[in-house]
Subunit: 296 residues, 2 copies
């Protein structure tokens, strides 16, 4: 197939301003997202949350797009907004949009991280291309986490999330702004080459990280926050957790150490948005996967 319609989305989380202002920039200067072989549309996914400078008004918009949730009449601002976006970009399963690129930032020190929800030939080739263009970028996959994915970008079968950090909520950092724009440019270049059947030779294999679990923040006896990410883990996303390494520290000064196996990596370390679920970080396994030479 050819990718004919691309949607670029920002403001899925209203206090992640980088995507919001990149979208507004591209709406007024569309040259950057224009390529000969496809059409690019730019949109702000949750303008009400952007206006409120909050991640969301009622519930996380980026958890509303499973087919199951989209087909129920859930009465929250974000569920209603999800149905509207599904009408506009989808419908999921038979979407009018061929590819969705969703722009996010994180307070974690994740540099430029790409998140895919599928590990099929198209996405593996796209990721191999991105790793060629941006050797320090990290590829992560939620492919194994759920069948019916809940990300906005999953409306389209082809989708990728750009996650740049560290960026505090509610502000713009020029470095993250430029890095996000660079990443989107490389995705769009891939699509253009893919449509024209002009992709260069890609690496035969790709290193990616698969999410599989999360670690909670310490709690006190009443269930309230009882500690924080250990200073020695802070900012060290995508490094292997070593047995006995301190990962959390309680407010009384005591430490909690990693007691899991080797070969496990952490990311989204100290993401502000996950405090409501009292999560400290995500766990990932690093794998090497073959990149199919052909898309068929």
């Amino acid at each position: 197939m050819t990718i004919k319609k691309v949607a670029l989305v920002g403001g899925t989380h209203g206090n992640e301003l980088t995507g919001v202002h990149l979208i507004r920039k591209w709406q007024s200067q569309p040259e950057f997202v224009t390529r000969p072989s496809f059409k690019s549309d730019c949109l702000i996914a949750n303008p009400e949350a952007v206006a409120a400078n909050k991640r969301y008004l009622d519930v996380d918009l980026n958890r509303q797009f499973s087919v199951d949730r989209l087909t129920r009449e859930i009465q929250t601002h974000e569920a209603s907004r999800a149905r509207e976006l599904n009408r506009q970009l989808g419908p999921k399963g038979d979407a009018a949009t061929d590819l969705i690129i969703d722009l996010h930032t994180t307070t974690a020190n994740m540099g430029c991280t790409f998140v895919v929800t599928r590990e099929d030939a198209f996405h593996l080739q796209l990721c191999a291309w991105l790793q060629m263009q941006m050797p320090t970028a990290v590829i992560t996959s939620e492919g194994a986490l759920m069948e019916d994915h809940h990300f906005l970008s999953s409306i389209s079968d082809h989708n990728i999330l750009v996650e740049v950090g560290p960026v505090p909520q509610g502000l713009l950092r020029a470095d993250a702004f430029d890095l996000s724009e660079l990443a989107v440019g490389h995705i769009l270049d891939f699509i253009e080459l893919y449509n024209q059947n002009a992709l260069p030779e890609l690496p035969a294999s790709l290193e990616l990280f698969r999410y599989f679990d999360t670690v909670s923040l310490p709690k006190d006896e009443s269930g309230n926050l009882g500690g924080m990410v250990h200073q020695q883990l802070q900012d060290r996303d995508f490094r292997e957790l070593k047995p006995g390494q301190p990962i959390l520290q309680r407010f009384d000064g005591s430490e909690i150490n990693w007691r899991g196996p080797t070969g496990i990596y952490a990311s989204f370390i100290n993401e502000a948005a996950y405090y409501d679920q009292q999560l400290a970080f995500s766990l990932l396994k690093k794998v090497s996967v073959d990149v199919p030479a052909s898309l068929d």
Copy 2:
């Protein structure tokens, strides 16, 4: 006079979690803030804003404590809360609390910064002590900004604000948590020595930065955000602005350069909380002031 009652305050801004959790820690482990010669009380200034994980519900609480505002019946959550805190800790001008320490964080790279609202003998000696104990800490003064100060801490004639960064809103960083606690420990040690008339010899002079103005973020033709802090200024708080140095960048890529005089320094560079006023950073002048040898 002797300092007999000290109030330690966190959560004046509800999404600055460091102060909130230090206060909760000290409430359950009061040893850290206990000294023989005075009483320490710990309190959360705006629990409703903390619960909402927002800086404030209606208006900035830390701008409500001028005598002028306290004596008017302003109908916002924070104005009402300010009157209550003024009854509890004050009343301003004849306060039951002898010293207020207010704990803040900033998204700017300001390390440990102390903010005083007065440059009298007591505060200059306190700052000289702090600079002895923490040579990398910065002293800033709002003394020249306004007669009738609007900070919560100004309820008491003796007051100091501890500002630690960079810390994103809505999360705890262990480094900033520990640094804030260290800073408060040094302030309390000073009070103890001051009460016992046992202060060591202090430096004869003190370097401090006086706030005098702010610089706005770029705007587009409609008055909306039109750019951001320049990548070359980001994270460079308390460095002198050089003539022609890029300070802001518009979304179209064009740069705005510093056209002011020499001898000016920037701080609160890219503070998320100031986006609602479209402020990019504050301007300060560095001065050397004599530290009085006696408090009379």
